[in-house]
């Protein structure tokens, strides 16, 4: 989090002068006391300025994560070199094409120029969108990092900065208006850092969490069903792949990300990394063994069993995607687990439902 030269508690707002400050009181009706006055106006000696602070005293930016130093990345230079050459080649060939067209007839040449301009504009737009998409994802990661840190240290200033960013992130989403207003109200009060993060979770993110869970649920159902009835293995494979990619995109969009192609690749990498780190199996494992061990899958046809397995995979990917895309950590609320999602699938079967209840009641393993 903070670098080695920062104080260990990382709370800059707690810093104060070393020497002792004497208690002091100023009457607000005193002529020498200026209330709410322009902060840039210089004070003469003996004068006092009083500025009521609604939300928080010092506005301290959240600590930004430090970048790890990297060595010379030859691969990157190679890519840049080759990419540049390729662009030059393409540019040259387009140039040549336009010249050729002009040589034939003028109007063909102009048409080509117009088309080239259109393509250039679209390319620019694409790049812009990719960059903003990436920045947005990065921003969400930053908010999550600072909120996690704030909850751990119970740090007021970091939490408030993080919450303000969170409110800004959802500004264009009318359905979050209520939550944002509630959160803005909370910011005006004396509430501890960790509690603020919990409030953000409850007031702003709870409805989004419910929708995210529904998205995963729908996908799991679709995957299970299609696998169960599809005639060819290749088809399931394609369906599972497409559904998993779709889940990631939809969940990212739900939580405020707008990933383009590169953003999406980054997201997929994060989800994969998350699955690898947490094993993605903690909750799922026990469930699978419960289901298979009690002979549930065997009771069903082989295809149906495969459907369940594919559904489980999708559920795990979806949950990892939620954890990667959500701009706040799960602190008060329990994060979704596989049985939440799979429960829907077995709603009709009382025996399976009982097994799921059992799996849920078992103490959750910490990862």
């Amino acid at each position: 989090m903070t670098g080695p030269d920062h104080p260990p508690d990382g709370a800059a707002h707690r810093r104060r002068p070393d020497r002792e400050r004497k208690p002091a009181a100023f009457r607000l009706d005193d002529a020498r006391v200026r209330l709410d006055s322009d902060a840039h106006e210089a004070l003469t000696r003996g004068e006092t300025r009083v500025v009521p602070t609604g939300a928080t005293a010092p506005r301290q930016a959240a600590a930004t994560p430090e970048r790890s130093p990297r060595g010379v990345s030859w691969g990157r230079w190679l890519t840049i070199g080759l990419g540049g050459l390729a662009s030059l080649a393409i540019g040259l060939s387009i140039d040549a094409l336009i010249r050729d067209l002009f040589a034939r007839t003028d109007w063909l040449g102009w048409l080509a120029v117009a088309l080239a301009g259109l393509a250039a504009m679209a390319l620019l737009g694409l790049i812009l969108r990719e960059v903003t998409g990436l920045l947005r994802l990065k921003k969400i990661d930053e908010i999550r990092t600072s909120l996690t840190a704030a909850a751990e240290d119970d740090d007021d200033a970091t939490a408030r900065a993080g919450l303000r960013q969170l409110i800004a992130l959802y500004r264009e989403r009318p359905e979050t208006a209520r939550g944002r207003r509630a959160l803005t109200d909370h910011l005006g009060e004396v509430i501890d850092g960790r509690d603020l993060v919990i409030l953000a979770e409850r007031d702003l993110l709870k409805p989004l969490d419910a929708r995210a869970l529904r998205i995963v649920n729908d996908s799991v159902k679709r995957v299970s069903l299609v696998t169960a009835i599809s005639p060819r293995a290749v088809l399931d494979l394609a369906i599972v792949l497409v559904e998993n990619l779709r889940i990631m995109r939809r969940i990212s969009a739900l939580y405020g990300g707008r990933p383009g192609v590169f953003g999406f690749l980054r997201l997929a990498r994060h989800v994969a990394a998350h699955l690898a780190v947490t094993g993605g199996m903690a909750a799922g494992d026990s469930l699978v063994s419960q289901l298979l061990g009690h002979g549930l899958a065997a009771r069903l046809s082989a295809r149906l069993g495969e459907g369940v397995i594919n559904g489980l995979l999708t559920a795990r990917v979806g949950i990892a995607a939620i954890e990667v895309c959500r701009p706040a950590p799960f602190i008060a609320a329990r994060g979704p687990n596989v049985s939440d999602v799979m429960g829907e699938l077995f709603k009709g079967d009382p025996e399976a439902q009982a097994l799921l209840e059992e799996a849920k009641a078992a103490p959750p393993r910490k990862d």
Partner: protein, 489 residues
Amino acid sequence: MAQRNFLSRLGDELRYSLDNLTETVGDLAVPTVRLGVTGLSRAGKTVFITALIHNLVNGGRLPMFDASAEGRIARAALEPQPDDDVPRFDVEAHVETLLNERLWPQSTRRISELRLTIEFESASLLSRTLGRGRLHLDIVDYPGEWLLDLPLLEKDFRSFCEEALARARDPARADVAAPFLAALAAADARAEAAEPTARLLASRYTDYLGACRADERALSMLPPGRFLMPGDLEGSPALTFAPLDPATLEGSPRPGSLAAMMERRFEAYKKHIVRPFFRDHFARLDRQIVLVDALNALNAGPAALRDLEAALAEILAAFRPGRVSRLFSIFTRRIDRILFAATKADHLHRADHDRLEAILKRTVARAIERAEYSGADVDALALAAIRATREASVTHDGETMPAILGTPLPGERVNGDTYDGNTEIALFPGDLPDDPEEVFAGSEARNPPVRFVRFRPPALQTTAEGATLSLPHIRLDRALQFLIGDHLA
């Protein structure tokens, strides 16, 4: 030290069990939580209770109180209290004083009680189907001075005299104790008992206790509590006694002597006043909040803080924290959650709240340890049941300080300036030290580095319909969540 005799203790225990049994039957219909609001005088008990009720009944802003924030509280209303022989806590009058006259409630002179019934929907399916969706919250308000009597239950007259005189001879109290000590020296404990002597001693002793409590000293360990707040017992023989010099109490006193009379009255005080008070209101609590006015003691200096620490340690030893298994809960109750709260947190800037909490934890360290050891849940926080100030930053002579804005009570003084109760000021109260030990160590001579001022209650706007907006507070919601949140889950 002689202990309370075994038989009376057994009798008390049997009585608690019986009461508990009848209450358990009542609980089958609607569960009851007895909330013990504990705190010395001026700690803010009445204000806390008033704010709690006002916020729950009027649906105040309580974001950290889950049941309220999730909109699961259907209704909260005052209901007839269980004990008919105790006055009702006059919440309406207190709210009226707070909001319209902008004055804090007068110090409590007698005991009062109330029952708040909360109708709620449980968040869990099981208790929504099986539970009653109602909860009684019983709260008792009483003069904080009376709490000082609880430690006396375990003491006999001799140990009471020893401790009282050791305190009176302490250099920190020497000047105010002088008149009492002079009267004591003049009286002969072995002589024939005479009512005028007893009256003189008692009144001198009462004056001495009162002087110790004044703001400059802000001492806390001042038993017996009824001397400071006699209630309706003023002048009765049970209150007309005083500690005698332990040196004159060798052997058993001659019947009819002053010493014998004093001892008898002390025992009567314990038997007729202290024990019923404890038995009726403290023996069977489920949850406890201990309100501590650390700021007043901080104002007065290290001696006051050490005295506060000693008083709280003795008082809290009378309570029974811990966990009871489901089976035995029919017969006995234990306090399974204790919240320690440093009140009046609005009188300092939020940046100092963590330090105030550290000082609080240091002050009640012994009680926290005991409660945790016996299995109770413990939390500590800085609280303001009603927030009387706003925050600001003040720039003066090129220096920027965190400050609070508020209207001081008439007669409050800072740096020689006295306020009339209508002037709003910006106050920088000084910095609390990072290490709580610093405020406990040190001698009287050192000027305290902090100066806290009492502020008037906030001026609240009312809506066009005349409804008052909810009372502002600091962490009242967190306190509520800790104290009764699990019953409404």
